[in-house]
Symmetry: C2
Subunit: 196 residues, 2 copies
């Protein structure tokens, strides 16, 4: 069995994912061809099919990996026994920090949902809902404890996430504000928005 060690595949696979991530984020899934991805990696288009069954799976895998990273990182950062206010602060800072570090993945995850075939769409959507449920649970706990004044926890969840994810539309590393300052400003707005 040759090429089990030093095989190119262990290097090529992540390079293909990186190229696809970059190009999908920049131009959109439909506007990027397999030949463009291959060229970016330094391969012929046919070689990509050693690593993905088709273009759709390449996209779906990028999105699935991102959402699973998100849930795993969140599981590590969260602590269920925190009081609602501290839990919310933790969520806000986590969300901003995680998303700001992965602008390409986030862009794709929000923009290319419509490019997913039904099965893949359902999978990704389920992962997203699991993440949203974490914030919703915090808001419900806080509302039940009388610490938050949220009229509709479900909508407050979506509103807060939309506001936080919006950071990615303007934040640039090395810009006017540091990550910590951004987290502080948004935490202030979220805290007041939920009436805490």
């Amino acid at each position: 069995m040759a090429r089990t060690q030093g095989s190119h595949s262990e290097l090529t696979a992540p390079r293909i994912r990186a190229a696809a991530l970059k190009l999908f984020a920049r131009h959109g899934y439909a506007a990027v061809s397999m030949r463009q991805i291959a060229k970016d990696v330094g391969l012929q288009a046919g070689a990509l099919y050693n690593y993905t069954p088709d273009k759709q799976s390449l996209l779906a895998e990028l999105m699935r990996a991102h959402m699973e990273d998100l849930l795993a990182a969140r599981a590590e950062a969260a602590s269920a026994q925190l009081a609602p206010l501290e839990a919310l602060a933790g969520f806000v800072r986590f969300h901003i920090g995680f998303h700001i570090e992965r602008p390409e993945e986030v862009f794709i995850a929000y923009m290319e949902l419509r490019a997913l075939e039904p099965d893949n769409f359902a999978d990704i959507e389920a992962l997203r809902r699991r993440y949203e449920d974490e914030l919703e649970a915090i808001l419900r706990r806080g509302a039940a404890a009388g610490v938050f004044a949220v009229e509709d926890p479900k909508i407050a969840t979506l509103a807060v996430i939309a506001m936080l994810t919006g950071v990615n539309t303007w934040y640039r590393a090395g810009g006017r504000l540091s990550l910590e300052e951004v987290e502080e400003i948004y935490w202030g707005m979220v805290r007041r928005a939920v009436g805490a």
Copy 2:
């Protein structure tokens, strides 16, 4: 001079725009072909070129029309002499009402910016900035008057707009909440978020 009245072009032009709007919103600009648009209208692809110089202009015109509608509707609804709190309430209700009525235009305006060639991109971006400046002016006036507690008016502007526009991701006509209820919930969150 034949066909000056009863000409098809006065009917065909808006039908082409409507078809392009629907298809671009549903599948994305890059994923929609001129033949698909033509088929939706009931024409051959070549006939589209009596109404648009090319596919790119068709997209750019849809986006420009939407942004100009937005600014015109806003100009009509706004009244500069309102106190900051009332002005903000007016902006929030206007934004939600306007955007909820035009889900396809809004979707395209936010998702297809990257599909625009540089000149078109700059045009649309300038229109968007003009709209954002209206909210920013309200927040600055309120902050100066001590009515609002916004640490960074520019970021608060983007945060509020992101939150409000997020309504379009979940709102469906005939759903659990009426437009008025949605406006009320979001106005509550925005009012508290800016410390009013």
